[in-house]
């Protein structure tokens, strides 16, 4: 169920957040992208194709990794660090 696989530096402090309401864990220094994709296999659903997306370039160029929080903020997942208590969504607002 995880797209990204940790291969190094697993000794970092644990950060707790929720993903689609489910309590999950990441590590300090993870981007939102890493945090979500080590706990699932998508970041969002495309607005126009109703297909899952998980980012692409990881360096702030492709803009394919914008995710939502439960309070409506939009974060670029590859350039935002995970923080304790974040409440992130990977379900599309487009399918509801």
């Amino acid at each position: 169920m995880a797209l990204l696989q940790r291969v190094a530096e697993n000794g970092r402090r644990v950060v707790r957040f929720t993903l689609d309401g489910r309590p999950v864990e990441a590590l300090e220094g993870d981007t939102v992208m890493t945090a979500m994709l080590t706990n699932g296999d998508r970041l969002r659903r495309s607005e126009f194709a109703d297909a899952p997306r998980a980012g692409f370039c990881m360096m702030g160029a492709c803009q394919d990794c914008w995710v939502r929080t439960e309070t409506g903020e939009r974060l670029r997942a590859c350039g935002t660090f995970i923080a304790d208590g974040m409440r992130l969504l990977s379900d599309g607002e487009w399918t509801s």
Binding site: E47, F48, W66, G72, E73, R74, E93, W94
Partner: protein, 372 residues
């Protein structure tokens, strides 16, 4: 070798007015050559906000606007595309009781033009558009107004004209225009000479060159309305929104993007303009104030265009006062998109019939001449 084209009507400017004039002239069987210095519908006709709105226009424009309304209803038949045209309604918001009074007064004045304006205020307003929150005390709805994608509509008119046999030349600036006996002669560099009995000047912000060539200077000024579009958002708005008193306007397209406009860009040179940073930021702030749904959204693109404005913000439409068989239509002052097709149709009538039932007196080209 210079190419020579001889035709009934030469049109300078392939925006929505020139393109629709070409289309209607071809429907009447006249031979037409349309010259466009850029791509057809690439300038103000193609980069404007996309409001298709009768409401709020000065009364003298309403007959043309009504005529245009009928044409917009036939877009698929005329152009082979709906160009994302939607009769969503146009809601003009009143942010104060005084503004509401002004909307009520406009409804009274515009009775008889067929706008069917509906004033909605207070609790009824909030029930009907809960998404608008407390941003307004009420508004005036024109249910059959709407919006369309100008990038698709405006080029489509010239394309439809070409499909009916009009000669459409893009990337073809007119360097010289003069009258030789009863023929107009247009030169584009060394490559092309067009001779025509009738000349239509529909070159938007660039129309002044043709008008001046025939001794008809107009105080036309180029301005640059500022636009921005957000990333796609869940649908919250089904009407095209304007605000009494001006400032900001917005529409949400079915794909979810919110298009907003307000403020002015600046000119890079005579042909190009750019959004201006403070205008962009001011627009974003005003839009977020009006539409709280934009609070967490991002603007993904800004743009502006080059549009000709007249001192009284009414266009110039009709025959030249100096030169027979020359007709002007320009200076729409940021509001030419909706009425454009009707202006093209009216120009075609003037050429074909020598007259029109449309009242064009308010749009005479010589109205700016100071009286001695």
């Amino acid at each position: 070798m210079r190419e020579r084209i001889d035709c009934d009507v030469a049109i300078v400017g392939g925006g929505i007015v020139g393109g629709s004039a070409a289309l209607f002239l071809r429907q009447s069987g006249l031979s037409v050559t349309l010259l466009e210095r850029d791509w057809c519908g690439a300038k103000a006709s193609g980069v404007n906000f996309g409001g298709v709105r009768r409401q709020g226009r000065p009364l003298e424009q309403l007959p043309l606007s009504q005529r245009a309304h009928a044409i917009w209803g036939r877009l698929p038949e005329l152009l082979g595309t709906d160009a994302e045209y939607i009769r969503s309604g146009h809601l003009k918001l009143a942010r104060s009781e005084a503004d509401l009074d002004s909307l009520i007064a406009y409804r009274e004045r515009s009775q008889g033009f067929g706008l069917d304006l509906e004033i909605i205020a207070g609790e009824a307003f909030r029930r009907r558009w809960p998404a608008l929150g407390d941003s307004a005390v009420g508004g005036s709805l024109c249910p059959q107004d709407g919006h369309a994608n100008p990038r698709l509509v405006s080029p489509a008119f010239a394309r439809a004209a070409a499909a009916l046999g009009a000669v459409v030349r893009e990337q073809t600036p007119v360097d010289r225009v003069e009258k030789d006996g009863d023929r107009f002669v247009l030169l584009s560099g060394e490559a092309l000479e067009v001779r025509a009995r009738v000349l239509l000047n529909t070159a938007g912000a660039w129309s002044l060159r043709v008008a001046e060539a025939f001794g008809e200077p107009v105080p036309l000024e180029s301005l640059h309305p500022n636009m921005a579009v957000t990333e796609p958002l869940p649908r919250f708005l089904d009407v095209n929104i304007g605000v009494e008193g001006g400032g900001v306007y917005g529409r949400q397209v079915p794909r979810g993007n919110m298009v907003v406009g307000g403020g002015r860009g600046f000119a890079l040179d005579a042909d190009r303009a750019r959004p201006e940073r403070n205008a962009v930021l001011g627009l974003m702030r005003d839009a977020a104030e009006l539409f709280p749904q934009l609070r967490h959204a991002h603007v993904i693109r800004c743009w502006t265009g080059v549009e000709g404005y007249t001192p009284d913000r009414n266009p110039v439409i009709g025959p030249s006062r100096t030169t027979p068989n020359l007709f002007h239509a320009f200076g729409f002052s940021g509001a030419g998109f909706q009425i454009g097709p009707a202006v093209g149709q009216t120009l075609a009538e003037l050429v074909r019939d020598g007259g029109t039932a449309m009242p064009l007196e308010p749009f005479r080209i010589d109205r700016f001449t100071p009286t001695p």
